[in-house]
């Protein structure tokens, strides 16, 4: 916070200048602010989970009861299968490295299925497959995450009840097209709902309380955060561009229709984490993210400030810089919000700002640091600092955006069989089989001579090789390739000419 203090003092002087300037020249109301492109709302429509490609059950249904292993069912499941988990306590880490698997808790007479890590296990659920659905599960006592996705697209995470699962509660990472809704999360030492390096996500109807951060959108693009109830966290809703990550942008975030109340819980984040620097009493915090719209939220009783907008330098976060990461919060659009009773017990730096403004009322909105193209509607409704340079917003609402989910699910990771054959030949087989020169195994021309128009012969051989040629080593079985891939590569090998 030392850095913060220094910069704030400089800002106070600068802000004082602006304040005087405003007294003499008034607000520059007539200059329209740039309108973010999403206000055009090009045909986005609300999708349900089936339309997203998740939760469409076309296969088997597994019924899991206490004493059974959820992971054993995942191991047997095929894409399109549903795994139903009955009330009771399960101690496992469940990992889903397959597409289109649904995990569904069954709640009976108010009894939930509970994944309990007993403070010994790392994560409750890990997934990398597309089309993963996780719903109706109570998760507690893990050390890492409740639910973590890595590059799974078209995910739906809903109606889960997550209590003290360590660092993050729900954490989709590198996923495109996801829905996180109607979950309740508490006791998380970083962000309860953490959307990290994702695209196209809706976060709605969740309740997050008693966490360090309620909802965090980090280095993600096209995120809609609406109808959430965020209260009694250290910080309610955050949109961050964090440096040092492989994704270098965070933009197009709409935060609307949320309750952001009394986020005054003492910060219990891990030393060194980004969120450990958040002052308690933070309602909404925008750090270095661009094209963020804040609209129609009820933001009350947050003791530090209602909305804080900062560039990277002023955030007081102690991370190393990233030359590829643009540090300013640009084009922030502050539409009408209801704000009251914020800023009643702010950090010392902000107290200093209030003295500057001769204000006894706490700050609803504070904007510090660089950035351009930002705007605000009806600033006189709030107690503000630093928004004097903001223009008047041209847009009045974001009604045109119903959802940031995609109209069609992200396509499955599959290509034509011919391509599969080619990629497999060059990507795997060519290490031993060149076209007409000898490597480890016989050249392709020799294989072609034996199997001419008999790809099945090749498939049978590579599935269960027998030692045929005295002057070559025995081939190891290639059964790690799927039957379809084995057929494709056999056909491809017979077709190549160089």
């Amino acid at each position: 916070m030392k850095l913060f203090l220094k910069v704030v003092v400089a800002l106070v002087l600068f802000g004082g200048g602006i304040y005087l300037g405003k007294v003499f020249f008034g607000r520059s109301k007539n200059i329209p602010a740039p309108v973010p492109s999403y206000f055009n709302g090009d045909g986005a429509s609300a999708s349900d989970s089936a339309a997203m490609g998740a939760g469409t059950v076309t296969g088997k249904i597994f019924e899991i009861k206490p004493g059974h292993s959820i992971q054993a069912a995942v191991g047997q499941a095929n894409p399109g299968d549903l795994i139903r988990i009955y009330p009771g306590v399960y101690h496992e880490t469940v990992y889903i490295d397959k597409d289109n698997i649904s995990l569904q808790g069954v709640i009976e007479n108010g009894e939930w299925p509970i994944l309990d890590g007993e403070k010994k296990m790392n994560d409750a659920i890990l997934y990398s497959g597309n089309g993963t659905l996780i719903e109706n599960i109570k998760i507690t006592n893990y050390k890492g995450n409740g639910i973590m996705g890595q590059a799974g697209n078209n995910y739906v995470i809903r109606n889960n009840w997550i209590v003290d699962t360590g660092v993050y509660g729900i954490f989709p990472q590198f996923g495109k097209n996801g829905l996180v809704e109607r979950n309740i999360l508490t006791g998380i030492e970083d962000a309860a709902i953490y959307i990290g390096m994702c695209d196209n996500v809706d976060v709605r109807f969740n309740e997050v309380y008693g966490n360090v951060a309620g909802i965090e959108i980090e280095n993600s693009r096209h995120a809609l955060v609406e109808y959430n109830y965020t209260h009694n966290n250290t910080g309610g809703i955050l949109a961050f561009l964090t440096p040092g990550l492989p994704i270098k942008t965070c933009f197009d975030v709409i935060i609307r229709n949320n309750y952001v109340l009394n986020n005054n819980t003492k910060n219990f984040g891990a030393v060194g984490s980004t969120v450990s620097h958040i002052p308690k009493g933070t309602g909404v915090l925008i750090m270095a993210a661009d094209d963020v719209t804040i609209e129609n939220n009820i933001i009350m009783g947050n003791e530090n400030s209602g909305i804080t907008i900062t560039d990277y330098t002023n955030a007081g976060v102690n991370h190393a810089n990233d030359p590829e990461s643009e540090p300013n919060a640009d084009r922030i659009t502050l539409l009408d919000n209801f704000m009251d009773k914020n800023g009643s017990d702010p950090i010392d730096e902000i107290k200093l700002l209030m003295k500057m403004k001769l204000s006894k009322k706490g700050l609803d909105i504070i904007a510090v640091g660089g950035g351009e193209g930002s705007c605000i509607l009806n600033p006189d409704r709030y107690v503000t600092f630093g928004v004097d340079k903001y223009l008047t917003c041209k847009a009045s609402d974001t009604h045109a955006v119903k959802t940031y989910l995609l109209a069609k699910p992200v396509a499955p990771r599959q290509t034509t069989v011919a391509e599969k054959g080619k990629m497999t030949y060059y990507g795997v087989c060519s290490g031993c089989h060149a076209y007409n020169t000898r490597l480890v195994g016989p050249p392709v021309v020799m294989v072609q001579a034996v199997y001419k128009s008999n790809p099945k012969g090749i498939v049978d051989f590579i599935t269960n090789p027998v030692h045929k040629r005295e002057d070559y080593p025995e081939m190891p079985p290639q059964n790690y390739l799927s039957p379809e891939t084995r057929q494709a590569v056999a056909e491809y090998m017979l077709s190549i000419t160089k």
Partner: protein, 403 residues
Amino acid sequence: MKRILIMLLLGIGVILTCGIFLKPQKMTGLKLCSTCPPGFELTDSNQCKLRSLYQLYESGKGNEPGVGGLRTALPEVRDGFTPQQIDLGRYLFFDPVLSGNQTVSCASCHQPDKGFSDGLKTSVGISHKPLKRAAPSLWNVAFLKKFFWDARAKTLEEQMTGPLYSADEMGTTREQLLKTLNGIGLYRDLFSQAFPDKKSDDIVLNEVYLAIAAFESSLISLNSRYDQYAHGYHEALTKNEIEGLNVFRSFVARCAECHTPPLFTNQQVAVIGLAEPDRSFDSGAARVFHDSTLRGAFKVPSLRNAALTAPYSHSGRFEKLEDMISFYTKGRGHEVPATEELHIHWHIWEPGLSSHEISLLSDFIKTLSDESFKPQVPEILPSGIRLKNKLSTRLVSSVSNIK
């Protein structure tokens, strides 16, 4: 297994159809390879284009390529070199004639049998003095956007001018390098094969750089047992190894946050807070980017074939994978000297990994080994310098690698 090896050794005589000396006794008439190395398809325009199962995942367009998850497309690859350029690069790479006193080649510090590193804490060049940092592996450099531990080069061409012209490493000069190569008739001939449209009869530096970059870009390792798992064959890994994978990607250990699949690096620089017990503190990327917050920042290395590249870290401080992993569990900043104020990466914390978890992680990292596309060491070099280790090592180890 023994029988296989013996047969392989017997077979070597007929193996080399690429780059074979037609009249080796006279050292003339060397013909460069006209086929691509394994992993590459020869196009009609005589270019070698990478083909990998990971390219099947480009169709979804869902995720940013190269930044994590099991079935994620690779980052943009540097390919499209001709077979002849790659083969010429192979000769140059192994030829000590490139160094000032003709004793050190690129392969001295980037040895195929040691994961294209050298097994030393920090490398040794022509001056026989230990250098400042460890030799990084060259596997999969075709995908990298930053080179050197401190990320100071953006291309392989830019990178190689570092060791070539450093007095302590290869110790040559631009003038000497050109003079040497242009003085070898065989190289003049090979360069005209690899660069048929070249304007001057003389070899020029850019051709040298390009050929070596072409060879280095052909070192692809994406066929490990982990890859089989990622592509959907879950039996490829043992129960322990899968548990190791789950620790690896968990948010307790957080390995996968920086060592992101599919390359097992996110190609960023990070301050992890390593001390330098026996020498002055290495400022790392701070010097390159003129940014003090990057003091002690180094490039995140790929973990592919890491089991082959001990010792670990930029200064080679850790003998075993387990030692390197243990560093991360001993607490954020536990090694940082009192005189240093470092901006340690936020993923460095105190995960409290058990010794069992550390051994699971090590088991998992070993599943990232794959040398099935290891290139052949040239039998004879155009300079006439004899290689100490003449035998092609690729065949032997690729067989022993098969599980």
